[in-house]
Symmetry: none
Amino acid sequence: MKSIRQIFLQHSALQMTTADSDSSSSLRRALKLLRILAEGDPDGLRLKDIAEAAGCSQPTAHRMLQDLAAEGFAEQAAGKRYRLALDFYVLAARAGQASGLREAARPALLRLSATLSDTIFLLVRNGFDAVCLDRVEGPFPIRSFTGDIGGRVPLGLGQGSLAILANLPEDEQEAVIRFNIPRLLDRGFLDEASLRSALAQARAQGWVNTSTGLIPGMAGVGVPVLDAQGRAVAALSVGTLAERLNADRLPHVVKILQGEAKALAGKLNPFDVALRYPSRSLSTIGGS
Amino acid sequence: MKSIRQIFLQHSALQMTTADSDSSSSLRRALKLLRILAEGDPDGLRLKDIAEAAGCSQPTAHRMLQDLAAEGFAEQAAGKRYRLALDFYVLAARAGQASGLREAARPALLRLSATLSDTIFLLVRNGFDAVCLDRVEGPFPIRSFTGDIGGRVPLGLGQGSLAILANLPEDEQEAVIRFNIPRLLDRGFLDEASLRSALAQARAQGWVNTSTGLIPGMAGVGVPVLDAQGRAVAALSVGTLAERLNADRLPHVVKILQGEAKALAGKLNPFDVALRYPSRSLSTIGGS
DNA sequence: ATCGTGAATTCCGATATCCTGAATTTATCT
DNA sequence: AGATAAATTCAGGATATCGGAATTCACGAT
């Protein structure tokens, strides 16, 4: 059985508290600048603040930003402020296309939104999290754990996220659970026993209902998107008002979701999320 | 009048054949790797091919890719292939509000899509290209020059793209035309005379109709989004089936589009797409 | 199933690049 | 306008980078 560390390595590309964060390589430092820009004020950041946030000298930050600008990843708005530039977003749009899932799922999302008149989410697994890859708004205002596109939640929190976790291979599921329990408790989630019973139920019935919803007045349904080996690679979910998921409508919603999930799975023949990271990372993480 | 080179410098962040492509800085070279990954197969590229495309040795490419992966911008899929990682997408999505324009335009796109039941595009100018910044699908399947979000077309090709070009300042327009003519011809587009007359008409009437559509059965309308100085910073366009843009409906569509474009322009007071690039770039490009 | 080819990764010395500090220019605030 | 603070440029010393060679690894063929 895989260890937590192995699972972690398989998905080490998380911006988590890896504690190796300060480490070297000028490239790494430059890339951190991009992250600083992304997380900073949309109108741009001052060079001084960027340098401080990056922990490097002002001339160094300046030179790197000039390079980033020359390549179209950053730009200088009025007032000398630096911010991300268009090319960055353009490239990022392609990054989401990995395996074409987003593209493949978009028609389904639109159909679901049109049919159900609710907000639809497309989630994918990424390490120990579920990431919102796409989302189509419905007419009702929704609060959800999974915020907007790009939002992350620990696997297990929220219907779609739980649907994914419930359909991972046994050993990975176990590792994720152990890793995520503290994170879930931090967010006021149920205890481990409740999680395990919810997972068992989710796996058995093939979908996750509103019972795990922790936001008052909100409810949702999530179904997994399975690959050829029956492993969850994504989830479709609906978020809506609790009153809109009564006993009458629920079966209908589940059925439609499952139909789309199955059709989507059919389009994903060569979908392979298994990553292998070099053993060098082991020492990096293990040694810190 | 500005020279082509000057215009080019203002928007030098193009992945074109700048001939400065080989130039210095390890950061720039690393960022080019990201571009290579973005343009390559979504399922990933082999290290050898990446190294070749980047014009550097295999070990060098390897080390840079490891750094990119460690920062979450790239990842290794099964089979050792490298591709852009999800974090890249997530980062941009979170910062997405940064662009302002996209955020500001989204309600308009949704309204247009709902009202017209067609696919709506938001294009912005970037150098010699128009870039699709956002897009809302309609119920009809559409083929367009401007592919999905992030797609580029030479300015002048397509309704929205032409609408932007038609409303650039005289000298820039001229420079773009000269630069783009060969590119347009390559793609089976009309000759220079036709382009110029189309531009004149577009500028005069304030919108671009389907007459420039080169895809059989498809049609569209584009209107420019003008800044305070009357320069085009973006375009809204509709793409649909030719039969859905008959003489009855066309004026209606144009009117609605123009209304949204005008409202959008009003929200863009502090929107400043003019970029200033350091004079250092001048010598870089001029000297090669 | 084993072998052979080609790719991916690691190692290491030379060297080009990057970083820190100081000086200059430019912007911002009172 | 003057003063202050930031942004940018400049130069020398230190270091991380680069590419060739060797090794390990993955994959296709016999």
